[in-house]
C-alpha cells in the first residue's frame, strides 16, 4: 500500500458510512414514531416562548424524512421530507443554523415548508448532537414572517434546549438498557434455576432387585420453575428409601430449597431411616434456614422399602402436609395410602407427622405425586382431586397395573386430557412389584 492511495479512500468511502453511522445513532435511541410526550412538548413550547416565535419543533432526521417528536403551533404535522434548507441541514451543523428570510435565502427557498404550507420565512435551530458527534435532529423555531437574527442569548438558550433533549435521550437509553439487561439477567437466572432443578432430580432411578420404579417430572410453565422433587436410594442395611415432595414457592429460591431438602432427606435417612425421624430432621433444618418473613417449607412423603421372602415389599411411609399415595392392587382396586394429619414441614412450631404402612404384593403398584396433578382443573372447571385421580386409575386398572411404567403411561394420558387445566409442576414416582418373578437366568453358557 502506498501513502498516496489513502486520501482517495478516505474521501470516497466515509461519506456513505458517516451517514450510516449517523442513522445507526438515530435508531439507537429508539425515539422515531413514538407517541408525543410531555418532556419534548415542553421543550418545544419553551423554545417558542424564548424566541417569541409562533412555531417550534423537536425534530429527528431519519434516512428519508424529518420526523417531529414534538411540534408546537403546527397542528397535525408529524413529518416532512428530507429536503435540504431547514432541519435536514441544521442537524448536521456544529453551530446554530439561522435563516432570517427563507424566500430570499438560496439555502432554504426550495423547501416545501417555505414555498408551501405553512409558508415559513424565518427558521432558527440548534442541532441535537450525540457525544460522539452525530447530529440526530434539531430544536428549532419557525415563523411565517421574516425576522432579524436572534440574539446570542436566544441562540444559546436554543443550544441548551437541544443539549437538554440529548440528555433526556441518553437517560432514556440507559433506562432501556437497564431494563433489557435486567430482563436478560432474569432469563439467565430462570434458565439456571431450571438447569439446577434438573440436576436435583436423579438422572435415572437405580434398579432395585424385585421392584420396578419409574419417575417423571411434568413442567406446567416454561418460565417459572417449580420445586418438586423425588429420589430413590439404598440404605446401609440393604433396604431402600424413597421420597417425593414439593417446596413452597417458585424460581431460583425454590430450586435452592429443593436442593437443600433433597440432600437433607438423604443425609437424614443415613442417620436414622425411620420415616418420621427423616421428616422431623428435615423440619429442623428448614427452620434453621428460616429468614425473616419468608419461611421455607415443603410437603413430602418419605418411605422405606423392605423386601420380603415372598417377593412382596413392606412399606413404611411418613407424610407431612402431602396428599395420599395411591396403591393399585393386582385385583384392579385403588387404595389411598393416606398420611392425613401430617403437617407442613418447616413452618409450624411443633409439627406432627403421620406414619402408615402398606404392603406391595406381586401385581401391586404405588403412585406418589405432588399436588400439581390433583389441583389441576378438569374440563368442567373442577379440581381433579385425589378422588378424581383414584377413579381415573380404577377405570383404567388394566393398563395401570402393567407395572410402574404402565402406571406412569396412564398418568401421562391423564396429563394430556388435563393439559389446559394444569397450573403447577408435578413430580411422579411409581413403584411396582412384577407379577411373576422372572426366574433368574441360567448362567450363560456361550
Amino acid at each position: 500500500m502506498t501513502v498516496a492511495e489513502r486520501p482517495f479512500h478516505r474521501d470516497a468511502e466515509p461519506a456513505a458510512t458517516a451517514e450510516e453511522r449517523r442513522l445507526a445513532a438515530v435508531r439507537r435511541y429508539q425515539l422515531l414514531d413514538t407517541p408525543p410526550d410531555g418532556t419534548f412538548d415542553r421543550i418545544a413550547s419553551l423554545a417558542a416562548r424564548i424566541l417569541g416565535a409562533p412555531m417550534a419543533t423537536v425534530s429527528i432526521v431519519d434516512g428519508d424524512r424529518v420526523w417531529f417528536k414534538a411540534a408546537h403551533g403546527l397542528p397535525g404535522v408529524e413529518q416532512t421530507g428530507r429536503e435540504p434548507g431547514l432541519c435536514a441541514t441544521a442537524a448536521l451543523q456544529d453551530e446554530p443554523y439561522v435563516v432570517t428570510d427563507a424566500r430570499a435565502d438560496p439555502r432554504a427557498a426550495g423547501h416545501p415548508f417555505v414555498h408551501g404550507d405553512p409558508g415559513v420565512r424565518f427558521y432558527a435551530a440548534a442541532p441535537i448532537t450525540t457525544a460522539d458527534g452525530h447530529g440526530l435532529g434539531t430544536v428549532n423555531v419557525l415563523d411565517t414572517r421574516p425576522r432579524r437574527r436572534p440574539t446570542d442569548d436566544q441562540l444559546q438558550a436554543l443550544r441548551d434546549l437541544a443539549a437538554l433533549v440529548m440528555d433526556e435521550l441518553e437517560a432514556r437509553l440507559s433506562a432501556l438498557r437497564a431494563v433489557a439487561a435486567e430482563r436478560r439477567r432474569r432469563a439467565d437466572a430462570e434458565r439456571l434455576a431450571r438447569t439446577l432443578q434438573r440436576t436435583l432430580l436423579p438422572p435415572a432411578l437405580p434398579s432395585v432387585p424385585g421392584l420396578q420404579a419409574a419417575a417423571a417430572y411434568h413442567t406446567a410453565s416454561s418460565d417459572e420453575v417449580g420445586g418438586d422433587f423425588y429420589d430413590l436410594f439404598p440404605l446401609d442395611d440393604g433396604r431402600w428409601a424413597f421420597f417425593l415432595g414439593d417446596v413452597c414457592g417458585k424460581g431460583a429460591d425454590a430450586a435452592a430449597l429443593t436442593s437443600l431438602t433433597r440432600y437433607t432427606l438423604r443425609a437424614a435417612a443415613i442417620y436414622d431411616p425411620d420415616p418420621r425421624a427423616a421428616l422431623t430432621n428435615l423440619d429442623a433444618v428448614l427452620k434453621g434456614e428460616h429468614q425473616g418473613n419468608a419461611p421455607r417449607f415443603c410437603t413430602a412423603v418419605f418411605g422405606v422399602l423392605d423386601a420380603a421372602a415372598d417377593g412382596s415389599f413392606g412399606i413404611a411411609l411418613a407424610g407431612g402436609g402431602h396428599p395420599p399415595a395411591l396403591a393399585l392392587r393386582a385385583d384392579g382396586s385403588v387404595e389411598a395410602i393416606a398420611t392425613t394429619g401430617g403437617q407442613l414441614i418447616g413452618l409450624l412450631p411443633a409439627p406432627h407427622f403421620v406414619e402408615t404402612t402398606t404392603r406391595l404384593a406381586p401385581g401391586d403398584a404405588l403412585l406418589l405425586y405432588t399436588d400439581g396433578l390433583t389441583e389441576a382443573r378438569t374440563a368442567a372447571g373442577d379440581m381433579l382431586g385425589e378422588d378424581g385421580l383414584a377413579r381415573y386409575l380404577a377405570d383404567r386398572a388394566a393398563d395401570a397395573t402393567r407395572g410402574a411404567d404402565g402406571l406412569l403411561a396412564t398418568v401421562h394420558e391423564l396429563f394430556d386430557d388435563l393439559s389446559s387445566g394444569i397450573s403447577d409442576d408435578t413430580a411422579l414416582l411409581a413403584l411396582s412389584v412384577p407379577t411373576a418373578s422372572v426366574p433368574r437366568p441360567a448362567k450363560e453358557t456361550r
Binding site: C248, T340, Q343
Partner: protein
Amino acid sequence: MTDRTLTAIPRPHPSSATVLAVSGELDHHTAPELTEAIRETSFSPETPVVIDLSDLSYCDSTGITVLVSAYKRAQQHDARLILVGLNPDLTRVFHIVGLNQIFTFRTTVDEAIDALSAAES
C-alpha cells in the same frame, strides 16, 4: 402481568373481637397486604380475632404462610383466632397440609362470635 388484588379490612365488632375481612386473591404478590393488616391487628386474650375469608377466591402457599403467621401471633399473645368462610377447595388444601388441626373454623362471622362468647361464659 397479573393484576391480582386483595383487601384486608379490620372491623371492630361489638363483641370486642376484631373481624378482619379479607377478599380477593391471596398469593405471592398480594400477601404483603394481609401480612401488614395482621401486624396492625391487636391480638390479646381480651380481643379475639376473626379472619373472614368468605370472599377469598384464591390462596397459594405464600397465603398459607401468612395465615400461619396469624396463628403464631395469636399463640404468642394468648389470643383466640377463628377462620371463617373457607371455600371447599381451600378447606381441602388445609386438610391435606394438616392445618385443620391448628385452626378453628366457622362458616359465618356470627357463628364465630357465638363460639367465642360461648367459650367465655
